[in-house]
């Protein structure tokens, strides 16, 4: 692909992403729902950590209540910013609307990713400050070394991107199994547990932590989240490399799935 061709192609997908971000901005109720959910989760866990730490029952890598609340704020920010792209793909496959999408001079999967990433970007921008404000209020201030939060920002963006790619791959499974929600359910629960969405991996037994390292989830959630525990450029770099590596693996898998999905396409009609 020539540089000019690449630039022209990028402009198309950027336009799709921008249109999607505009729509997400217009859907204020969806954004409000996610923000409220973020607030409720942070409030509940702030109380939990307060009780647990007051009893001295747990030590988490030297982190106190503020760090643990900020950890949760970062991991939830990453995950709540991801739209349900798998449902959009499943709906297109089920309804046959995919036929309409295929008549445009863009890749179907590329367009879905662009639209999902546009929405993700907007949600990251909106939920970031909201989550930070709630976390600040509940934690009573910044974490011990707030510089780590700056490192969490690019990692969070990459984390959400990886989640978009992964859930798009789940959506493509609709070509085989039609109903993708069971697969998404499993993926989501694995992300919760192996990624350390609510509890940092430091609290996990060794065997589970070792198992989790074979999956993309620690890089996706624990990696950005633990930046709340302190300024750790080395750990951030490791997470960055892991996110890029897993992103490549998932992107290759997505391209492979996309090719087979196209072959299975039997849009209804006659």
């Amino acid at each position: 692909m020539t540089a000019e061709r690449f630039a022209r192609s990028s402009r198309k997908y950027a336009a799709l992403a921008l249109a999607s971000a505009r729509r997400a901005l217009a859907e204020r109720s969806v954004l409000a729902g996610r923000a409220i959910f973020l607030g409720v989760i942070l409030f509940i866990f702030a109380r939990v950590w307060e009780t647990v730490l007051a009893q001295g029952a747990l030590q988490v890598a030297g982190a106190g209540k503020p760090e643990l609340i900020w950890y949760l704020a970062v991991t939830e920010w990453c995950l709540l910013s991801v739209p349900h792209v798998y449902l959009a793909i499943e709906a297109d496959v089920r309804s046959g609307d995919i036929a309409c999408r295929l008549v445009r001079p863009v890749s179907y999967v590329g367009a879905q990713l662009a639209e999902a990433l546009g929405e993700t970007g907007l949600r990251l921008l909106v939920l970031g400050p909201i989550g930070a404000a709630i976390a600040y209020a509940l934690a009573g201030g910044w974490p011990d070394d707030p510089r780590g939060l700056w490192l969490a920002l690019p990692l969070g963006v990459l984390s959400s991107t990886l989640a978009v790619f992964s859930t798009a791959a789940i959506g493509l499974s609709a070509f085989w199994i039609v109903d993708t929600s069971p697969i998404y359910w499993i993926w989501q629960k694995l992300a919760f547990v192996l990624g350390g969405l609510l509890l940092p991996l430091e609290l996990f037994p060794d065997w589970l932590r070792a198992l989790a390292r074979f999956s993309p989830f620690p890089a996706m959630l624990w990696g950005p989240g633990r930046m709340a525990f302190g300024f750790a450029p080395g750990a951030a770099l490791t997470t960055l490399v892991e996110l890029l590596a897993w992103g490549t693996v998932v992107a290759v898998g997505l391209a492979w799935l996309s090719r087979f999905a196209r072959a299975r396409l039997t849009v209804g009609g006659g």
């Binding site: 022209r8 402009r11 198309k12 336009a15 799709l16 249109a19 505009r22 729509r23 217009a26 859907e27 309804s95 046959g96 609307d97 036929a99 309409c100 295929l102 008549v103 445009r104 001079p105 863009v106 890749s107 072959a263 396409l265 039997t266 849009v267 009609g269 006659g270």
Partner: protein, 333 residues
């Protein structure tokens, strides 16, 4: 001049699962799924010249939409050759997409949450249109389709007729050389249908684009097209110009007469009286039995005629006659 599109011995089959009966059958199907082959298109060949406006008609399940999807690169054929504007749609879908427009009457290509104007802007990016040329084209189409008042509203708030006009504009923005239309007037009221047909006819003439239109509504083919392809069970049944189709398959005429007398008295062989009204008589003339000029002469001789018209039967009846003929031929075979 090479054809705008040509297909030779096109065949498309699908494998569809066979539903097992009962719980035991469903459980067995989990381990041994049975499928059967459905032939959607079977040995279909035809070519369309640039600028032609062709109707592609047939009953449900005849293979019309499947053929359209193969021609637009959405589906791959199981066998046969397809060339659209010199390209292989299955292999060169993206290149072809820049040169064709597709409208599915039962599905929307517009972003439902966006105003149509924003969709047009987005499509301009997707089709890589030069901004000034795009604005000229958009303004021309928006004026032609009279959608100035609605393009700032989100598409989901538009009526079906308004949405279909926007769909057509979005499919014409990039000046496609071929326009594929799958049931473009489905669900529309009589006025909206007539408007869409007029607009399609106008665009076909102004832009010179080739039109291939599928429809169950014979009004669409009469209003827009000059040639008709009739397909049945995935096979081409008939390929005629609209005029020849009328002449070849019309065995009857309709005569409408308005007379000063409340009732017209006429009793001729081959002439059947249809429901009419006082002073107005509707007659169906069987041309195999009697010439229409003899009927007209008898009417004029027997009454003071205020108005008289001779018409072909509606296109629905003609197409039904074609299907019925095919069915009889199948039964004989």
């Amino acid at each position: 001049m090479p054809p705008a599109l040509a297909l030779e011995h096109l065949r498309k089959t699908f494998r569809v699962p066979e539903r097992a009966h009962g719980l035991a059958g469903s459980l067995r199907a989990l381990f041994a799924r049975r499928t059967r082959e459905v032939i959607a298109v079977d040995d279909l060949s035809f070519a369309i010249a640039p600028g032609e406006r062709v109707a592609f008609v047939g009953p449900n399940g005849a293979g019309k939409s499947t053929t359209l999807k193969i021609l637009s690169g959405i589906l791959q054929p199981s066998a046969g050759h397809v060339r659209v504007l010199g390209l292989d749609p299955g292999r060169e879908r993206t290149r072809l997409a820049y040169r064709i427009g597709v409208v599915f009457g039962q599905r929307s290509q517009l972003w439902s949450h966006l105003p149509a104007a924003d969709t047009f802007d987005l499509l301009a990016r997707i089709y890589e249109l030069e901004p000034a040329e795009y604005r000229r084209r958009r303004d021309e189409l928006v004026a032609s389709f009279e959608i100035e008042r609605v393009i700032e509203q989100p598409v989901r708030q538009l009526s079906l007729g308004e949405r279909m006009r926007c769909e057509l504009v979005s499919s014409l923005l990039h000046r496609p050389e071929i326009l594929f239309l799958d049931e473009p007037t489905i669900g529309l009221d009589v006025v909206a249908k007539a408007t869409i047909r007029d607009l399609l006819l106008e665009r076909g003439r102004v832009d010179g684009c080739t039109i291939l239109l599928t429809s169950h509504d014979t009004g669409d083919m009469e209003g827009v097209c000059e040639r008709v392809l009739v397909i049945h069970h995935g096979r081409l049944l008939l390929d005629r110009s609209l005029d020849r189709l009328r002449k070849g398959f019309i065995a009857k005429k309709r005569v409408s007469v308005v007379t000063e007398e409340a009732e017209l008295r006429i009793d001729l062989p081959g002439v059947r009286r249809l429901p009419g009204a006082s002073h107005r008589t509707e007659l169906e003339v069987d041309l195999d039995v009697i010439g229409v000029e003899r009927v007209v002469a008898a009417i004029v001789a027997g009454a003071r005629v205020l108005d008289l018209s001779v018409e072909d039967p509606p296109m629905e009846e003609i197409v039904s006659a074609i299907y019925a003929g095919a069915a009889r031929a199948e039964l004989r075979a």
